[in-house]
Subunit: 417 residues, 2 copies
């Protein structure tokens, strides 16, 4: 039986209170937090006070309340500190600096060279990126509250280890330990599916619903799952490995060595292969894979039948696979994100919707909202930074106990007096 | 954002405390409850007191503690009341009477006649079964704390409505309301997948792990999912609809109207169809479907090559489908239950294990225990009775507030004085 301590419950409540502030269009009152989260007013007020004392929230005016004294309105204190989000992809590393309101302050992309990139190169690239970003933005290094790092494949999160990489011959690389030799801020490791899902939970569809599936279509394909407002990781943080579900028995070869996997059809490479099936001599094929997907989208929009057929087949594959996924999870929302979904956009969504409608069960469909991700920018980097925010909110020094809260309050009073 | 109230947390803690008592080999102390659940000693002690006052637990001796006063040991008070579990299947209704320790006291099975059974017949059969059972066991009707009813298909749980039946032309049948016209105990409606999973959580693999997938193979096929010790229902209680996942594109016709569904291969009927493919003239085919599956198991064990090939093909289908399911959920345990798994048993399990090992991801496999259900008797009826137990534990009259607990304690003192 998993242990659910009072500490776990406090952490979850703290996350919910802050997610509620982020999701609101403007400053909120303690009463708003109580109403949105379902927590008692006393609990919501305590959480708000704790977040104010830690500087995560700030007072943002007052509203008149009926008959009582004016209620303080609260907002995220963007200037409390900075967060870094890092998206390690197959050919590049994107490093982004955020304020505490998770607005991007600075961003840069550094290339990775060669076919089998070694861990030392990735570590060197990340460290160089972080240092450039901190210098360029004039950020004081000690104000960086944490950095989240997304690496593809299977990640052992607690230990900060990249267990398996789909691109490189990495096995059990202690990435966090390697980074910690050169970076001083707290570091949080996870993979892009989990990062994109956490971004969606805090800043996308998850602001409205608590059960969602986030399908990411890029070089890799997978699903992130949120259950009851919490990321579902499974027993070894590999839940959501949807990309290697069998879509077509004895179908296309997949880079995993099996045949007919979902990923072989709806990843960046999958779309290129579909185009090649539709028109082996298409001039659109003369580019790198990511560029081809963009070209297919533009050509299809312009009425090119080959490109339109490529989008239609991709939507059919996606819809068939998604229908089964949805029957299993019965979520309130399915969100499509990643390069392929971003480029092929609404036409992919609308054609996939028809296939899903024909293949999913009525109960599944009735509960479901299907949409493209509305998270702007790079959701993986944003999600990685959100892991750092969650890590900071979980910091026992700052939020350890009620006693620690009182000590912080006393210290704050002493500083201002 | 889903609201998680203090009431929800108390309910969950109460469930966990009682699951811990059920799972222990003998009576437990308050300290044991705290250690197993991860709750503070004060919380565990309060929960124990509340359950004692409600009569759900009883004192069962004392153990010496180091230096302190002897600790009371607690056990389930089997005689506190009775629970009823009802499994409505395609051709019969099983009604079972349990004590509060969930031991079966009496059981009976009543047939359903005809192809398209009407709701009135099912209601009449359930009512007759309950009345017979109560009379035969000499149970005082007022001591029945609740009855759980499992009906196949999609169930709207809160309203107690059978939304859709896979066997009969039912649409939105208000089954609980129909039953409540004739039965006075609280009634809880859900489907067999959910019931079998709850039985597994309280009395099977779920006593050791919190993330599990329970695959039920009978006339229908589906998966029940427990996440972090709680049943995962999805947005409209239809999560786990695995039976209609596409296993083989354009494969066998399924009764759902689609082709190639998992259910068409690994349900009772699916096994019969596989036998027919292996040997269209097999004498084993001359019986009803459930009997055929039993005959295949016996013949295979006796060395019959046709039966052995039927089991092997069934294991291959099951393993392929289960590998994808496991990659998505990454559970700690996969439990196989239902008529097909019960009859084909270890040979099915061991052959499916090899297929799963060849097709699931290493991270999935490493975390996984694969086993047959160890729940004795009919897990659907047991699970239905467990829903009634959960409903009783959630009863606001008995467990509403601390104040109610105090009132109950005072009343108990007054009764004994």
């Amino acid at each position: 039986m998993a242990k659910r301590t009072a500490q776990d419950i406090r952490r979850r409540n703290r996350f919910d209170a802050l997610r509620c502030v982020f999701a609101a269009p403007g400053p909120v009152s303690r009463q708003d937090i109580a109403e949105t989260t379902g927590l008692s007013f006393a609990t919501a007020a305590n959480l708000a006070t704790e977040l104010l004392e830690a500087g995560v929230l700030r007072e943002a005016g007052r509203e008149e309340s009926k008959g009582g004294r004016p209620r303080a309105r609260l907002a995220v204190n963007a200037e409390r500190g900075a967060l870094i989000g890092i998206d390690v992809a197959e050919t590049s590393v994107q490093v982004e600096l955020f304020d505490l309101a998770l607005s991007v302050l600075h961003s840069l992309r550094l290339p990775l060279r060669g076919a089998d990139v070694r861990p030392e190169e990735v570590v060197g690239t990340i460290v160089a990126g972080v240092e450039q970003l901190v210098v360029a933005s004039g950020t004081r290094p000690e104000s960086v509250l944490g950095a989240g790092v997304s690496v593809p494949g299977l990640v052992e999160r607690e230990g900060g280890v990249s267990v398996f990489s789909p691109y490189w011959s990495w096995r059990d690389v202690p990435l966090r330990a390697l980074l910690a030799e050169q970076l001083t801020m707290p570091l949080y490791l996870d993979n892009p599916l989990k990062a994109a899902t956490v971004a969606e939970m805090w800043f996308g569809a998850g602001r409205e619903v608590d059960d969602l599936v986030v399908v990411t279509l890029r070089a890799g394909v997978g699903a992130g799952i949120a259950v009851d407002g919490a990321l579902y990781r499974g027993a070894s943080n590999s839940a959501g490995e949807w990309g290697h579900t069998c879509l077509i028995r004895d179908g296309r070869e997949c880079r995993c060595g099996r045949r007919g996997c979902v990923e072989a059809y709806v990843s960046t490479r999958g779309v290129v292969r579909t185009l090649r099936e539709v028109a082996p001599d298409s001039p659109l094929l003369d580019a790198d894979e990511a560029t081809v997907v963009g070209a297919v989208a533009r050509a299809s929009a312009a009425g090119d039948p080959v490109a339109a057929e490529t989008v239609a087949r991709t939507a059919r594959h996606l819809g068939m696979a998604a229908a089964d996924l949805l029957n299993l999870f019965n979520p309130q929302a399915l969100v499509l994100g990643g390069w392929v979904a971003d480029r092929l956009g609404e036409p992919l969504l609308e054609q996939a919707r028809e296939v899903i409608a024909a293949h999913a069960l009525p109960a599944t469909l009735q509960a479901l909202t299907l949409r493209l991700s509305a998270v702007r920018g790079n959701p993986v980097a944003l999600g990685a930074a959100t892991f750092a925010l969650e890590g900071f909110l979980d910091d026992r020094e700052t939020f350890g106990t009620v006693a620690a809260g009182r000590r912080a309050a006393r210290a704050a009073r002493e500083r201002t007096s």
